[in-house]
């Protein structure tokens, strides 16, 4: 730790460590000196966040969100958040260009920062909107990264609560840009993954980049959903998404046309149903959610109906919390089954390389591969157990397992008809089917499995320092030689350290 600390200080004189120290120095031990929501309610983080670990919500935090972020007093609705990280991949030797494949490996870096506009606007309207600057967003041809700012999670809502001795009905409408970002439970796809994930390749195997149950459409959309929470027991939400364009283009602000997900029309429904029960210091939620999204292959081209594919996601999730100072225990479980129907053009063209050129792999005997499946099914399961003591010291263990159908379409490594398995970095071989190292998939199967262990410390309530270790037993469909170049799943095991602060 001392070496890392020294390295952090050396590399980030004005960076991550300074940021953390600045945050520490800026804030007295007072309820007022907190991010926007805390300033609005005047409460400590632990009121809304279980054991102080944001973003996981307590029952009160969930009601704060569902009632439209309107509890409290209107204040300046601004907060900032920053993350500094350090990642080290177990084995970087099995690569012909480790400097690129594991860029910034073992190097502390100031990863990203966010500005939040969040809080109460009127008695019924509130907002949570995040704009994120990613220090390593774009990789240029000279192997240097450039920073970039773009819209992150956004949730604007109108809510009302009808309550008396006999009933309690919370009703609301959410305008948001990411399916399930409106959800108050942290097994929802948008919220289960929480530590911000730095972009450089050295961080590509950290827990935040491992499989999480989610929706095939991804974020940066524009959606409207209506929800109802009845007697704090039954939660139902129904919405639909479309491309974030026109007046709603601010929901994907900062993304260019090629990066903005293009949905077909407005008939891309999202639904959520959950049952919640509280008894003593315990609470339990069991729920289901799903989405059907019609997504164009090429974000910049929505003229060809043969470019239109379809995702169907159906999931179940459950969360148990025990919250009684000084203990906070959380058990989370989420499972999503995804059926992806590929577009006619994708099926016809088969696998392509990074430049869109066809990849013509053959098997080990030189025979052509099986034709592309028109559809794939993928199952992702994730479970996590966490414990926090005194809202200060915590740890967790998580399991993730992705299984699914094999498809030549998923293959980006294989046998070149003439040269065997090669990445041909210099172009000397003139191979027609170039394989991908490190991230390659030799089997065409998405199977990825592993564990993540984490310990964290919150010296003050808005700073969190953590150490994560993610260990893989399977990656891209195999335990050994998953990329065709001899790289094994365990070579991707990654140590990740981070400091995360908010103000």
């Amino acid at each position: 730790m001392r070496n890392i600390g020294a390295a952090l200080r050396g590399r980030l004189g004005a960076g991550g460590v300074s940021l953390a120290l600045l945050l520490l120095a800026m804030a007295p031990y007072e309820a007022q000196a907190l991010p926007a929501f805390a300033r609005q309610t005047g409460q400590n983080c632990v009121a809304c966040h279980a054991g102080g670990q944001f973003p996981e919500l307590t029952p009160y935090g969930r009601m704060f969100k569902l009632t439209g972020y309107t509890i409290g007093t209107r204040v300046v609705p601004l907060s900032v958040m920053g993350v500094a990280g350090y990642a080290k991949v177990a084995d970087t030797s099995k690569s012909d260009n480790p400097a690129s494949d594991f860029y910034k490996n073992g190097v502390p870096l100031l990863a990203s920062g966010s500005v939040f506009i969040a809080g109460k606007l009127t008695d019924n309207i509130g907002a949570f909107s995040q704009i994120t600057y990613d220090n390593y967003a774009n990789l240029a041809t000279d192997n240097q990264y450039a920073g970039h700012t773009q819209a992150d999670n956004m949730d604007f809502r109108y809510a009302d609560r009808f309550i008396d001795g006999n009933r309690d009905i919370v009703f609301g409408v959410s305008l948001n840009n990411n399916p399930s970002v409106s959800d108050p439970w942290n097994t929802a796809a948008a919220w289960m993954q929480y530590v911000p994930t730095p972009s450089p390749a050295s961080h590509q195997f950290i827990d935040g980049k491992s499989p999480f149950p989610g929706f095939g459409s991804g974020g940066n959309l524009a959606g409207l959903s209506a929800y109802l929470f009845w007697n704090q027991t039954l939660y139902a939400e129904l919405g639909s998404y479309r491309t974030s364009k026109g007046a709603l283009s601010f929901m994907s602000a900062g993304l260019n046309g090629a990066s903005t997900t293009q949905l077909n029309g407005s008939n891309n429904p999202y639904w959520r149903l959950a049952l919640s029960h509280e008894w003593g210091p315990h609470n339990l939620m069991v729920g289901t959610s799903g989405m059907i999204a019609h997504v164009y292959d090429a974000n910049s081209d929505i003229t060809d109906p043969n470019d239109l594919g379809r995702f169907k996601n159906v999931g179940v999730d459950a969360q148990y919390q025990y919250i009684l100072d000084p203990h906070t225990v959380t058990v989370q479980m989420a499972y999503t089954r995804q059926t992806q129907d590929y577009s006619a053009n994708t099926i016809a063209n088969g696998p392509v390389d990074a430049n869109g050129n066809p990849l013509v792999f053959v098997d080990a005997n030189g025979n052509p591969l099986a034709p592309v499946n028109p559809s794939d099914t993928t199952n992702i399961f994730r479970a996590k157990l966490s414990y926090v003591y005194q809202a200060r010291y915590g740890g967790s263990v998580a399991l993730f397992n992705r299984t699914g159908t094999s498809n030549t379409l998923n293959q980006n490594s294989g046998y070149d008809p003439v040269f065997g398995v090669t990445s041909d970095p210099t172009g000397a071989l003139g191979a027609t089917a170039l394989s991908t190292r490190v991230t390659g998939n030799f089997s065409g199967n998405p199977g990825t499995r592993g564990y993540t262990y984490e310990a964290f410390w919150m010296p003050v309530q808005y700073v969190r320092a953590g150490v994560q270790y993610t260990a893989y037993s399977k990656y891209n469909g195999a335990s050994d030689n998953y990329d065709g170049f001899g790289r094994n799943a365990r070579d991707n095991n990654t140590l990740f350290l981070y400091v995360w602060g908010a103000y």
């Binding site: 409460q43 209107r74 309207i125 309550i163 100072d325």
Partner: protein, 213 residues
């Protein structure tokens, strides 16, 4: 960026209209919001609509002495009561309440009917009953009944204890005994005369408060 600015302008314009909805407002800085509305819309989330919370993190307010409730809210507002639960949850919620709102909230909860808590270990409860009724003579600790009444019902600024969550009572006794979080109360002296086991016993007894004599 233009679109973002436009969005912001729209949001701020909306905010500027400051629509208020006094019958169902969760605004804690508007003196016109009736206390019963605040009790339903905000307080009830943790303390329950009838002042009987589900989670023992939060104290039972139902049937609590009115003067005690007023005094506590005033002390949260002035930061004179600064136990962890007080400053973590209540400083902010109380900071803009008017005296009239505080009195109205106290009226609301004092009128509610408290529900008994779950009984604990019989031996522990028996030991608690002994302390509640007779104190700890060898340490000159007075019995709880002396101030809190024979039914644990409290009087004026002496709180009702009967049916209160054991976890809450026990944590508050530790606050009295080990911190300056709740100053200027005879409980500082009283709590010093009780061991942790005795605190647990009396808290277990009070939570269930069986009425058989």
């Amino acid at each position: 960026m233009k679109k973002v600015k436009l969005g912001l302008a729209v949001a701020l314009a909306l905010a500027g209209t400051a629509c208020s909805n006094l019958e169902r407002s969760r605004d804690l800085a508007n003196p016109n919001v009736p206390p019963a509305v605040t009790a339903m819309q905000v307080c009830s989330i943790c303390h329950g609509v009838t002042g009987n919370p589900v989670s023992p993190i939060f104290p039972r307010l139902a049937g609590q002495q009115r003067d005690y409730l007023v005094a506590q809210l005033e002390q949260f507002r002035s930061h004179h009561r600064a136990d962890p639960a007080g400053f973590e949850y209540m400083f902010g919620l109380s900071r803009n309440l008017t005296d009239a709102q505080i009195q109205g909230l106290a009226d609301y909860f004092t009128k509610q009917v408290p529900l008994p808590g779950a009984p604990g270990d019989p031996a522990l409860m028996a030991a608690g009953k002994e302390i509640f009724e007779k104190g700890v003579p060898e340490k000159a600790t007075p019995p709880c009944v002396a101030c809190h009444g024979p039914k644990g019902e409290g009087v004026a600024t002496f709180p009702r204890l009967a049916y209160q969550y054991a976890d809450y009572l026990s944590k508050q006794m530790h606050v009295f005994r080990e911190t300056e979080g709740r100053p200027n109360t005879p409980m500082t002296q009283v709590a010093h005369g009780l061991s942790s086991t005795q605190v647990e016993a009396v808290a277990a007894y009070l939570q269930a408060f069986p009425t058989q004599k």
